[in-house]
């Protein structure tokens, strides 16, 4: 099993992971829809998770994978919270546009 694993290159995994992260980041910064922004944060999470798993495989250490389980758990909890917040915000103003919430301006 390990021998076939030697043909995997860490760099490729990290590259993918960073691409996912940056896509998520850029999406978060560019999109205005609250739910889409949240999906982008999830995407950022996935990028991080991939990097963690890749490193765990590379170092033959399970710590990375354990950390991934934690991250996924927290992502789930955060998803619940975020969507609850979105719901509350929607009740205030019937829009999912973040630019509606700029009262802290200046």
């Amino acid at each position: 099993m390990n021998s076939s694993a030697d043909s995997l290159i860490l760099g490729h995994f990290l590259l993918t992971s960073s691409v996912l992260f940056v896509l998520g980041l850029v999406g978060f910064l560019m999109r205005r829809n609250l739910i889409i922004m949240f999906l982008c944060t999830e995407l950022m999470f996935q990028g991080v998770v991939l990097a963690l798993v890749a490193f765990a495989r590379f170092h033959h250490n399970d710590t990375g994978q354990t950390f991934v389980i934690f991250v996924l758990t927290i992502a789930a909890a955060e998803a619940a919270l975020a969507l609850a917040l979105v719901m509350l915000l929607y009740r205030r103003k019937p829009t999912l546009d973040t630019s509606a919430w700029s009262q802290m301006k200046g």
Binding site: L29, T98, S99, S102, K105, G106
Partner: protein
Amino acid sequence: MDLQFAILIPWLPALAAALCGVCCVKRGLRKLAAPTCILSILGGFLVTLGISGRVGPAGEGHAAAQHVIEAFRWIGVGALQANMSYLIDPLTIVMLVVVTGIGTLVAIYAAGYMAGDRGYARFFTGVSLFIFAMTTLVMADNLVLLYLGWEGVGLCSYLLIGFYYQKPSAVAAAKKAFIVNRIGDLGFALGIFLIYQTFGTVSMADVLAQAGQVEHPTAAHQWIPFLLMAGAFGKSAQLPLYVWLPDAMEGPSPVSALIHAATMVTAGVYMIVRLLPVFELSTYALPTVAIVGAVTALFAATIALCQNDLKRVFAYSTISQLGYMFLGVGVLSSMGAIFHLFTHAFFKALLFLTAGSVMHALAGQLDMRKISGLRTKMPITCWLMFIGCLALGGFPYTAGFFSKDTILAETMVVGLGGHAPLYTILAVVGLITALLTAFYTFRLWFRVFLGPTEYETANEHHGYPVPAHNGDIQVQHVHEPHEVSWLMNAPLVVLAAGALLAGVVGEHWIASMTPGSVPGSAATAAHGAEAGLHDSAATLFGMNVHAAMMLISSVVAIVGIGAAGYYHWLNRPAAEDVARRYPAVVHLLANKYYVDEIYDRLIVTPLRTVGELCYALDRLMIDGLVALVGFLPRLVGLAVQPAQRGVLQGYGLGMAIGVAIIILVIVAVT
């Protein structure tokens, strides 16, 4: 009476001032203010009489007993010891008799005069405080305490001149008095500093003793008299610092009588007499005093010739008589100066108070051109003022005659005997002034009291003009001028008696009290001995100088009175003819030689401009600088403010960029 009681003399009025202050605040106690004040001053007077027995007059040639009473320690810093200690010697007694005696009489008069005024208690607070300061001044043992009294009387003068504080002219006059006095006080303070520096002490006894022994006066020694002189000229209204006194007539008449005739303005004369050995340190000091005194006397007398306001005439007359006192001091006749101070207090206070009675009767009218023939309406006032005018004019055998004659005779003796023609000229100036004095004094009296009875009342009620539509008060006060109450006339009778008798009775007393009071250099003692004797080597027109001067002054006084009688009683149109023939002279004199205007152009306006410049600089630069420093944080905030848009993604971007920078830096460093 034990000399320790002398401490009561200044401190009883101080207590009265505090009590009157309480009366100001509590409505119901207003009536108590006058008796409190009067009793405190009367108490001072009685104590003065009581201790005068203890302080023996001087014999010929030796100093009189000088007693120092220490009240409490005040300033003790290293070598500088200035305590509240009082020097009681015969000169002090004379001054105290004047201050407390005239003070009591004026206070009694004022109790009636100021009745009904809203500031009744405030007035007596001011008067009590004034008596405290004045008695401190004359009783002071050291120069610092004297300066305290000096400033105190200046303060009370300011408070009392500005008594009718809602009148802008009164407020301006009060400010003027204080500021002009301050200029003199600056000189005085510098003089005290210089004295301390050269003599190492401010105690008067020590300073006088040391000054008497100075063999070769240095420049510092020679400057001291001139600096002190500046203070005396400011306080006693001599050229060039006299301009405040005529304006000070804005105060109520009792104030004019007490402060600006009898007591405060004589403080300068007292100071010079007390510090005579210091003044002898410079050979030019006393002649300067004499010249300034004589010139001021003449100058003020000429102005008084054309003044139409009752109190202004007397104000310029005061300036003129103070000039006489300075002339007396300048010729080392301290006896003459103090004698004239003494008699002048009586008759000038009498004159001001009677003028006040006239003013009160006519609801504030002071213009001589609008009053005539009041003898029928106010006979007592008429004859009281007549006595005062006789004394002022120097009619033979009145008090004013004796004192003025003493000064003029002494001046003539010094002039003729000592081969100093300057003094002969000054004596002649004094005689001319005496002629003018008699003339303008009786011009006033003949105009106001004799002739056809016509008068025009003004419309003032206790110092403030009454608005025309206020029917009630107008009706109350536009009535026949009537004589004042006996309570107010009683002190005037006492003053009139003084004006007549103080000369005959007082001459001996004052002569015994004064010469020995001034321990000093050989010159004073020698001259004192000389002056004590009434014959002198010099002769005038073949007669003894003193007798000759008496004769000449009598003639001068009678001629002046006669001329005034002709022009202002018997043949008034003649006076107007003369005035019409010389309009330029009349205008010049009526406008006081335009001195006030000159001062305004030369001094006041430039100073005010400088002041406004400083104000502008202060506002623009200093305040601007401070405001700028205050503005900087706001500036920083304004600069950074656009970064906060309130949009979530902006903050997110900021975070992302920050993280990127940190990572770059870490990667670059390692």
